[in-house]
Assembly symmetry: C2
Homo-oligomer: 149 residues x 2
DNA sequence: TACTTCATTGTAATGATTACAATTAGTTTA
DNA sequence: TAAACTAATTGTAATCATTACAATGAAGTA
């Protein structure tokens, strides 16, 4: 099924007049197969083996191309670098305050919130962003173990 | 009323053993009176006149102190620098995709989303973050005016 | 095949944020 | 109030993610 996602993405790109290069193919493939919302640098390092000459600028350039095509979302948290997420069906993220791990979860869209926001502010709403923060099961276990802190 | 907010903030700081310096006082005061969710650099520039010797490092240091004390929230969007928001009652932000202006709006908390996320993922939920994106009234006007684009 | 245009590469530049060491200034206690 | 202790500020250098740019290379097209 991730094969179909890749194929769709390539079609979308072609339709917007974007050339399919081996680097773009590889970056997309990696993003789709990745569960971890990688940073640009992580993508770069992951593909270093197959593309020893690829520049980190290429990764950034293409992430921007994908983002403009609506294929990829950029996630900016407080920390230094952005993370990138291949857009599939709508999902939100929950992030562990302790270890930083990111887990997807599904929830019906928040149209009602968008409506209210639009009504109150007069904005024409395009989209929204939601993240939940907490402590993941694994860190909860460790917390129990070292109660002494 | 913003005077009371400042006073409360100072008490909170003192209670956590944080010293009240003129710089901290000024940064807090500016944040409370500001409607614009300023960046660290904007704060620095705004106070330059009153504190000609203040270092930009001081601004960053103290914003971190305030954040740790729960007085200030850091807002990270895609763009280069973080913005800082004095925490009052709970409100969310709606951001203009075109001009970047940020407007507050109120909405009941999303406890139900938190509950679902917690149930699905096993996380112990601490908080969430929500932002809505769209086009502000003023940019909508300009869009109409220059349909030619 | 040759041409046109876009993509990649490598490197330098930018800009936000942080680290660090020296100095200064709150706060406490006698 | 003065001395002493400790935390805060300052100035600067360092770091690190991201972007700009110019030269080279490769896709797509006639």
């Amino acid at each position: 099924m991730s094969g179909a996602m890749l194929k769709n993405a390539l079609v979308t790109l072609k339709e917007s007049g974007v050339r399919i290069t081996p680097q773009r193919h590889a970056i997309l493939e990696f993003l789709i197969s990745s569960e971890t919302h990688p940073t640009a640098d992580e993508i770069y390092k992951a593909l270093e083996h197959d593309f020893p000459n690829m520049s980190v600028a290429t990764v950034y350039n293409n992430l921007r191309v994908f983002r403009n095509a609506g294929l990829v979302k950029e996630l900016t948290f407080g920390d230094a670098s952005s993370r990138f997420d291949f857009v599939t069906h709508d999902h939100y993220h929950i992030i562990c305050d302790e270890c930083g791990s990111i887990v997807d979860f599904h929830h019906p869209g928040l149209e009602e919130v968008e409506r209210l926001a639009s009504y109150v502010t007069g904005f024409k709403v395009n989209s929204h962003r939601l993240e939940v923060y907490g402590v993941c099961p694994s860190c909860q276990e460790q917390g129990k173990a070292s109660k002494a802190n």
